[in-house]
């Protein structure tokens, strides 16, 4: 299970569409927007969003950004909640195989462009890679300030005090900051950004990232960016500093104690296991362990009657 994952099914590139589906002019307007976004880290740039052959909420923003920056020699990876083989990831990957005939991969280190929904890969990204996020609601002020005009003014004037109201409420009710995803962060000491619904576990990876991070919201028609080596600070209180999630368990498949874990219900009795959400990271670790020694974790896994587990786990088993 590595970079030639898709050789099982040959996808015939379509000749009916322009390269990467969108017409060149649309792609160019989006690239111009991206240039502005990179120049003003964290600032939400409006763009002329196009209709895509998928519903809003399925990653139309990310797909448009990917389409705009994709070149013939790019290698594309698409993940959804960290996994390469969930419906959304598979569909989008196929979409670009058909419309752009680009090489695709599941290997994080081999991809030049990675489109993601809700995760940042565990393996640190390099400066020749671009990570594209699918964003549902780009404005972190949306839930606090219903007026769009007022929210834009607040961004312009750096009036971010209200962002802490939500965090205050968390501490008052739960004793700690209970916001676990879409955790707001200050980019380059200027704009507060919604990093899309990634778990706050991934927020530290935004800081001084080597890879270029691009964010696209299709329904809202906004894009924004965090250029490489940019400061990204998650909001917090002086006496309640930012913290990431931790698990008591290690991954049931690869034994990792450092990755973001998904809780998976494996039978009707509610038996559960914790596994890495990043499928490639997990598979890679399992593979290297199998190569070196008999994997005790694997024995446990085989003994478990696995039912209703997402395909990636079955595939590994």
């Amino acid at each position: 299970m590595d970079n030639i994952i898709n050789n099982a099914r040959v996808v015939n590139p379509s000749t009916h569409y322009n390269f990467a589906y969108l017409d060149e002019h649309s792609k160019r307007t989006i690239r111009r927007g991206l240039l502005k976004a990179v120049a003003i880290p964290g600032y939400q740039v409006p763009f002329a969003g196009r209709e895509m052959p998928m519903p809003y909420g399925w990653g139309t923003g990310g797909v448009q950004l990917t389409a705009s920056i994709l070149g013939t020699d790019d290698v594309l990876k698409v993940i959804d909640q960290g996994s390469d083989d969930t419906t959304n990831a598979v569909s989008i990957r196929r979409f670009f195989e058909r419309t752009a005939a680009v090489k695709t991969t599941t290997a994080t280190d081999q991809a030049t462009v990675i489109q993601t929904r809700h995760r940042i890969p565990e393996q640190p990204l390099k400066n020749n890679q671009i990570l594209i996020f699918q964003v549902p609601i780009p404005d972190p002020l949306r839930f606090i300030e219903p007026s769009e005009t007022e929210a834009q003014k607040m961004h312009a004037l750096e009036e971010y005090g209200v962002m802490h109201v939500k965090l205050y409420e968390d501490i008052a009710h739960y004793g700690h900051i209970a916001t676990t995803y879409a955790y707001p962060a200050l980019v380059n000491e200027r704009y507060v950004m919604d990093p899309s619904p990634i778990p706050k576990f991934d927020n530290p990876k935004l800081h001084m990232s080597e890879a270029l991070l691009l964010f696209g919201a299709g329904r809202e028609k906004r894009l924004y960016a965090v250029p490489p080596y940019t400061k990204v600070k998650s909001l917090d209180f002086e006496d309640h500093p930012f913290e990431v999630q931790q698990w008591e368990e290690d991954c049931a498949l690869c034994g990792s104690g450092e990755s973001f874990l998904d809780e998976v219900i494996i039978d009707d009795d509610g038996t559960r296991m914790f596994v890495c959400s990043d499928s490639h990271y997990c598979a890679q670790r399992v593979e290297s362990q199998e190569n070196t020694q008999v994997n005790t974790q694997k024995d446990i896994r085989i003994n478990t009657q696995v039912k209703n587990v997402p395909s990636k786990k079955q595939e590994i088993a």
């Binding site: 750096e158 005090g161 209200v162 109201v165 205050y168 409420e169 008052a172 009710h173 209180f237 002086e238």
Partner: protein
Amino acid sequence: MKLPIVATQPVLTVNGVQKLYAINRGCQDVNFSLYPGEVLGIVGESGSGKSTLLHCLSGQTPPDSGDITYHSHAGEAHNIYTINEAKRRLLMRSEFGIVKQHPRDGLRMRVSAGANIGERLMAVGDRHYSHIRQVATDWLEQVEIDAERVDHLPSEFSGGMQQRLQIARVLATHPRLVLMDEPTGGLDVSVQAKILDLIRALVSELNLSVIMVTHDLAVARLLCHRLLVMQKSRVVESGLTDQILDDPQHPYTQLLVSSVLTP
């Protein structure tokens, strides 16, 4: 009523302010100065321009003409409509306080009482949770709300409590100038009395300057040192509260005073 010691430097100077929506609709030819510790009442019937004037003073409606100048503690004069917007908004959330008639307009109903008070602190840069919380509970006690209720939503409070919470929220950052639009409108008399008491105590304790719009002359008599009487967009009479209420000169003021019901 005891008058405050008159400081030489006013907090606010209003010079020839005019904002008209139609002929004699809005406010025009308004001139006055407000000094530290002073409570100025604006009275008049509905539609006389009181609220328009208050909107002009609170930075929400730019007047057609005239100047509104705020004198900061350091002695700098800021014309609130010629300074840039960032500065004006900072001024509004630090040195000005605005108490709305309906607490719903001035509070965030979906966050706790503590967060409501804390919001202004966070807006001016406080990032220490325990400190914010301490200030919030202190203020709840000041406005006679049980500190235990710091995590309750304002929607669980009675109307009078909501209004007191709004006052606490506004005063938490120690503004120098507070603008109030009918703060006791719509409340029953015993609750009204409590809030008026509270405002009066806080005004003298914190040496606040207050501009209060009201159509209730009893409220004006209790709280205000000075009154402006407005009719059809103009100030028809101004002076010390007792003087105006006991010896009204303008026919409209006479009518107003004689219309008060006495039980």
